[in-house]
Point group: C2
Chain length 196, copies 2
Amino acid sequence: MTGQPAGRRPGESGTREAILAAAKEAFATQGYAATSLRSVARTAGVDPSLVTHFFGSKDGLFEAAIELPVEPGALVDGLLAGGVGSLGERIVRTFLLVWDSTPGQGPMLAMLRSAVSHEDSAAKLRELLLRVILRPLAHGAGGDQPDRRAALLASQVVGLAMTRYVLKLEPIASASPDQLAPVMGKTLQRYLTGPL
Amino acid sequence: MTGQPAGRRPGESGTREAILAAAKEAFATQGYAATSLRSVARTAGVDPSLVTHFFGSKDGLFEAAIELPVEPGALVDGLLAGGVGSLGERIVRTFLLVWDSTPGQGPMLAMLRSAVSHEDSAAKLRELLLRVILRPLAHGAGGDQPDRRAALLASQVVGLAMTRYVLKLEPIASASPDQLAPVMGKTLQRYLTGPL
């Protein structure tokens, strides 16, 4: 705890919120690659060292800004705890819940935007999506070739995000989770546990 | 045929090729929205009226630059002529054949790039993908709710393009068509003819 310039003081949580708000705005409008800790600090009107103090790194700031309803590890554990039988459908519902409740679909869509034009952003999204969420799910579901299954999951999950939020392709764009989850959930279920 | 400034003359096919080469380059690097008939003409060193003469419109130029191995209507007819039974798998093979054989995946990837940041490009890609290819396939396959099926097809086809060429997500990025077509083809087959 030595070397931190600020420490606990009145207004600390306000500062953290200001940084997070600036980060969400920056990730959503400029994408992951173009967002720097320095520019976020400037927008929030704080010293850059405070961004590191609260969030550790750009990755940490990004993961906080994604606004998953729970921490990703807990989310994956929660999905797996519900059993493997309906896992595909519950994955679709969870992604839709997170994306639909985030204005502009938040940083995840910003990363998709960056990924199509910047190789390093593509690498970052690939890494986050696979490492944090889909590989743990595929491994937890217990099928063979879990990494191949995780990639297949990604193809349908990313395709859902692209058609619903980017291409706004009807009737997927306006469909309710209850309409989408059963039909796409079956695809994810096969990618998770079916024969490949 | 009146009002055309050029008519048949020596070098006509060379001029057409020069325009097409400039268009492929422009669509691939700048995306659909930022490419104009005027800028393509300038790059090709021809009068803009010649672009209209050979390709009719920006859409016509784009469809020519996509470099589908056959005209889209003929492609759809060919796929449907092979029967509905293995249609899903053959659709995957056809998309992979077109994309894998086009350097940088050509204008289709350029349109994906434009679509994530420009609403009009998203509308254009949505329109082309649905109108020219996926709706005719879904209608031809004879299932109920063909427009809903076409949107589901789009979600997996676009997801395949994103994971293979943009995110370069392994093992999908390096997989052969023989490895990908059976497993993703089953998904498309269900979206085409299965219960929804």
